[in-house]
Symmetry: C2
Subunit: 347 residues, 2 copies
Amino acid sequence: MSRPAAATRSVTIRDVAARARASAGTVSRVLNGAPSVKDAVRRRVEAAIHELQYVPNAQARALSSKAFHTIAAVIPTIRNLNFVIFVRALQEALARDGYTLLFSSHEFDMGLELDEVRAFLARGLDGVVLVGQEHLPQLYAALAQRHCPYVTTWTLPREQESDCVGVDNFDAAARLTRYLLDLGHREFSVVASLAPTNDRNALRLQGVKAELARAGIELADDRILEGAGSIEEGKSAIRQLAAWQRRPTAVICVNDFLAFGALLECEALGIEVPGELSIAGFGDIQFASDTRPPLTTVRMPAADIGRFAAESLLRAIARSTGAAHAPSVLKLEAPLIVRGSTGRARP
Amino acid sequence: MSRPAAATRSVTIRDVAARARASAGTVSRVLNGAPSVKDAVRRRVEAAIHELQYVPNAQARALSSKAFHTIAAVIPTIRNLNFVIFVRALQEALARDGYTLLFSSHEFDMGLELDEVRAFLARGLDGVVLVGQEHLPQLYAALAQRHCPYVTTWTLPREQESDCVGVDNFDAAARLTRYLLDLGHREFSVVASLAPTNDRNALRLQGVKAELARAGIELADDRILEGAGSIEEGKSAIRQLAAWQRRPTAVICVNDFLAFGALLECEALGIEVPGELSIAGFGDIQFASDTRPPLTTVRMPAADIGRFAAESLLRAIARSTGAAHAPSVLKLEAPLIVRGSTGRARP
DNA sequence: TTGAAAGCGTTACCAG
DNA sequence: CTGGTAACGCTTTCAA
């Protein structure tokens, strides 16, 4: 049907071989850095490659070697720039090893996620990058069936069932809570989503609860306001708690979008931040330091997660011939970034 | 070296052929929807495909057909979510036709852009999506040399040298200016970058100038403040003009990042917006409606540009066999979104 | 250390 | 309309 772009027959490995007075096999060996090539020959080949401006055909290489040199990443959403930064870091790290990254987003639809992974699998790839631990069982099944290596990212696995590069969301939430506790806060509210599909959110809520419990404070269910991740939900949460008789002095939002909304609504309602109410989020997404006041939040090392996930996956692929290894789990730091949106609890 | 993920020898077209009592060629024909296959045979083949769960190997297909079914897009930056939305829309539209999208960003480094395109070209692809018209001549040369179809996007071409899907940035800027003029503004300032590498910025500045000129107002060079696209630059611009003896009543920022910064600095300096100063931007990026006050801006139809660019490119690829066609140029609307950051000029 | 040759899974051409 | 057969460009035995 449609004709190729690079229709002009490109220079092949045989052209190089002819010019270098060597065989295609030898040129291939030079290309792949095989040690067993005499220096003189190698130089001739390299010269020929240079002179002919030869560029290996990736498709042919893949076909022949049965390796695709392709990785797929499926992220929850592109609207959270942190995930985009993550993808970009992944891509860069992968590119250094000659791998191509394919990506997609599912906007928190687990069925779509499964479809996307299946499509990628069909297309052919050497590994998959997943965000979070919560995925449909069919997804894990599909991966297992094809012996396709994968890394999970952003959260730590409950049991070490897979390679993983993430942060301890539970602990990060606990640290944030401890910080607020130390500021004298005793009345808390959390804006969180009860939907189980986002384990990052869920763990953060649990971390807050646990740390409060350690301080002898129980977070009642009615202090937990619903909100998955939009500015609107953040605003709505503030509107609700503004009507409470016993207002919290600190509200923790499980992500920065919610926190943005909360900040905005406080301003609209004339609630002083952090004077009357301290607000904190998670993510340290773009613009988090440009809110009024600047947002206190837990920074997610998006680029590092990407970079290390790439390394982890590449390692898994490299050893996929050999015996099963114990899954590697890399835990990255998620530092608390204290800015102006949190302060001492009003006495 | 590294072994494939899907190591288990997958089912090939020959397996299907055997099972359907047909030849590989026939199966291929069925796969590609060739009309010349007897219905009975086609059904047998389809049954076999289904039973064997056969999935064509994309690499082999590419190698054989010399079509890669791959498109590459190189965007300026991932930090502007509009470009990410654009990429995603591109990808979705392309996927519907079985194409895979590769992408990269160059962060406004034209040399890097060239490198990326070259790398993609080497890898093999059927088309390229470029943002803007300003690119290194070597880039155009590389594309031309390989007869690689491409679309330029976001801006309109000066001369119709290539397929293009974009908005008229000049006109959009003129419309925004006219709107401010109608509000009674006479003293303008523009935050723009003089760097020629970003033609979107440049055209917007020109559009403002032209419309002001039509109204008999000359925009002096010292009313143009330097700023490429960061919040910091926006802040700095406001700091500068705040010191002027004759302050503008309206400042147009060539993108929303600058406008965000301008808004923030006005608040910090106690400059009332829009009372004392009207502020407008371009892009309508994420959070543009969540600033205080909400930002008046020109919406860039990022998703539409992506969708239509995909269509345009696919069309170009399809006809790349035939004779040269006149380049198609699709101009999309960039509506002015009036929000609270602009108002009547103080009398 | 090197060359020859056999694939890899498709598509495309050419008979029939 | 269909089957055989030859590529496609590379990697990878297997001998030498």
